[in-house]
Symmetry: C2
Subunit: 342 residues, 2 copies
């Protein structure tokens, strides 16, 4: 059985998701700057998994740093936190994980115990994430009915989290409850997380999956083949507007037009109550090459101009319910989501 | 300067569009079955170009067939027509071209003159197509305003026709008229006609083009970056419902939601008045490998189940206007399109 990420004896190990589904290769990092680079270069991705990798990276920094004093240690750890802060701008779990690690750093009164505390906190963040996902599954599986075809976008699965998954966690739980589901996985250009990761992950669990290109979603909704849509989230604003992988907004509009329920499954750590609405969320633009090349193969003319926003924002009014570990908010456009954070 | 297809001295030559934009290689066919195979394997694609290739293929069959009598010649030519009929099921221009060639075959009273007549008819179909496209451009360019960003899907350009293009013909004409336009080309999965062909073709003509993935369309419409959408068509039913490359339906819904005009540019030969409405159009499903592999590179797990409809149907009510060489039908859902065929 595969794992997404692991901390063991001052080594951070992760499955290199860039090579899936053709190769299953694990990377082992002993220096925190390599963990930061792994996040930037998408060895690991998915908002909750990025949070865990960041926490482990900060813990690893504490193991790497040879400081002469507690103050120096704290200062260098804050610099390490800043490095992680810049790796992926949209994922709120990243800053949430840094905040948790920083509060440990601030409270520390001893270099050795600080190292241990940070390692323990990173492990705790990982374990909590798996439990949170299972709780999201418990809270959400009621919405998926026996016989449903459920469409998903990108990978909000075990590979995007510490394990089990958010959107795919809800699907997993429904299947565990004996419901017969089929998943339509949108391939999710440009990075193909749906084709490479979601299809792979569901096949590993023997959950029936059908791969489609992103632009087929409307066609299959119109033909009546899709009963539900469920996706993850990278950041949810206080009014329920949700940033998620590019294409999610389009799917939400299609679902609304066709009367298909559209669910967002995410941990409370994805809620960003300081961001009032979706328009305030900064959208990361990634490289030209992600669009113009696929796995190194050139698919567009040399020198073509490309736009490559990694995320878009789905307005709360397109979302039927936001499913978290602390409960479900139906009609988030009317109810907001800030009460979940209290 | 490149060309899409050419008939010369009993040789059908075409640019191998499967290799664009990396290589510009021409194929030369001296036997009609190779032309049929070129259509099936997508050396050439695009409804009008398929019609021309079919006509040239039938003319080539007449050059290939060694018949003892006029009757035998006619019978073998009808068999050749049947072969072409099965190459691509959705493009109505294909059966329209066959119909024109068959009426020449039926009227013939001499083997040698039949060969010449078929060759002349194929050349005429080609020349007419270029003129038709230029007329579509003249009729349509009024809808594109100076400074517009115009989104298009797939390739309805010179490469999809005898030359000049339908949707891209309208853009070309607007640019020739001095309008400053920018084109957002959707890459058009799975076959990437937008990335490989539209971007290449527009760059050849120094028309400003920005490549985006299909799932970015909604995001850029919401952000106000797109002012118009124009696409081609593979088959237009009597009520104006339009079959075009998979993803077109989704774009039409997005455009409608965002108040963006959505135009279809196509020759009258694309109108199929015998098909009453979109639901009656047969949608070609293509191979698993087109989705699971990109230019030979595996992007999905071995053995994954795939759906691959090549087209979808855009209802007439999502179309602002249908632009043809015989005139423009605004609000086709109210007016129908059958009067254009009279």
């Amino acid at each position: 059985m595969y794992y997404t990420i692991k901390w063991e004896d001052d080594v951070v190990s992760m499955l290199d998701q860039r090579l899936l589904p053709v190769e299953e290769i694990y990377r082992h990092y002993t220096h925190y700057t390599d963990v930061a680079h792994a996040i930037t270069s998408m060895v690991i991705r998915g908002a909750p998994a990025i949070g865990i990798a960041t926490a482990m990276g900060v813990a690893l920094a504490a193991a790497n740093i040879q400081a002469k004093s507690l103050d120096q240690m704290k200062q260098e750890l804050h610099e390490a936190c800043d490095l992680f802060y810049g790796t992926r701008p949209t994922a709120v779990n990243l800053s949430w994980a840094i905040k948790r690690m920083k509060s440990i750093i601030s409270a520390a009164d001893n270099v050795d115990s600080l190292k241990e505390q940070l390692a323990a906190e990173a492990r705790k963040i990982h374990e909590e994430d798996v439990q949170v996902n299972k709780k999201i599954g418990e809270n959400g599986h009621q919405f998926l009915k026996d016989g449903d075809v459920v469409m998903t976008h990108c990978n909000a699965g075990a590979l995007a989290t510490g394990g089990y998954g958010t959107a795919l966690g809800v699907i997993r739980k429904a299947v565990e409850e004996g419901k017969n589901l089929k998943v339509y996985a949108c391939e999710t250009r440009p990075y193909l997380q749906g084709a490479r990761l979601t299809a792979w992950e569901l096949m590993q669990d023997n959950i029936e999956v059908v791969l489609i290109t992103d632009n087929m979603a409307g066609h299959f909704m119109k033909s009546g083949e899709i009963q539900r849509v469920i996706v993850g989230a990278d950041r949810i604003a206080a009014n329920g507007d949700t940033a998620n992988k590019i294409g999610t907004y389009t799917h939400s509009l299609l679902a609304k037009h066709h009367g298909i329920p559209f669910y967002v499954a995410a941990p409370v750590s994805t809620l960003d109550v300081e961001t009032k609405k979706g328009d305030d969320i900064v959208i990361e633009e990634r490289s030209v090459d992600e669009v113009a090349y696929i796995q190194g193969v050139q698919i567009a003319p040399e020198g073509v101009i490309v736009r490559n926003p990694a995320f878009d924002v789905t307005p709360a009014e397109n979302i039927t319910a936001i499913i978290t570990e602390k409960g479900v908010v139906e009609e988030p456009s009317k109810k907001g989501i800030t009460h979940l954070c209290s």
